[in-house]
Assembly symmetry: C2
Homo-oligomer: 145 residues x 2
């Protein structure tokens, strides 16, 4: 995926502040704004950059309970699990992984009662293991460039 040093620099800058203007990016990488715009467009187009998002504190949105729920989904239940569980809005991340606890979900709930209810629903598709998150010292840290 031949990225040159300037591309990598731009990715690094956008990873830490996605709202930097093209002009500002240009200053930081010593290029004109149009040149930067073109590079960023290309990075988007090639799928290197897949989007830009605001990070929001779940607590401030009234969802202080964060948990990681692992589910040993029985193989026949896979499709139904995907259809009914993955769209639930309290899920922010869902990974399909190796091992027999084959799904791993990050959920953000308003209360422990809501978490209990979520786990009960997930349990219809297999055994679950739930860990409450105390803290996340690293969250969405940028990849090295």
């Amino acid at each position: 995926m031949d990225l040159d040093d300037v591309d990598r620099h731009l990715l690094e800058l956008l990873q830490s502040d996605a709202r930097l203007t093209f002009s500002e990016l240009g200053r930081r990488v010593s290029l004109s704004a149009p040149a930067v715009t073109e590079r960023v467009r290309r990075l988007e187009h090639r799928g290197v950059i897949t989007g830009y998002s605001a990070r929001i504190d779940p607590e401030k949105l009234g969802r202080p309970i964060q948990a990681i729920v692992r589910v040993r989904v029985r193989s026949l239940d896979g499709p139904r699990f995907r259809e009914t569980i993955l769209p639930l809005p309290e899920i922010t991340d869902a990974d399909h992984v190796t091992g027999d606890e084959c799904w791993q979900l990050r959920v953000h709930c308003r209360t422990t009662a809501e978490l209990e209810q979520f786990v009960e629903r997930a349990q219809r598709y297999g055994e679950t293991t739930t860990s409450l998150v105390f803290s996340s010292p690293v969250r969405g840290r940028g990849l090295p460039l």
Copy 2:
């Protein structure tokens, strides 16, 4: 954290595209650009918005191996684990959780050999369980508003 409907609307818009201009946000929520700017600044200042970041495809950066590594860190080793493992650049997320597998790490490696090396380093602090990520049907989905 009293957020009104406009705040929620702005958060939703910025969650799905953090590069929208204030003018564009203003159009979408039927408010003037300065009014929107003021609201967004307040949301940032109150810590509701904690930042803006570009999402980048790890594969396109030459890191196709993604894994979730759980570590049963022995309590005395906690501080050293934080100091030496958490800063490793292949980690994008680290959660401290309940249960005896008390740390959960998401790592992105260039090769399985690199993952092996990572796991060996982590193992100095306790037993590990590693799951390779096949796919992540939900990644960083916005919270409901």
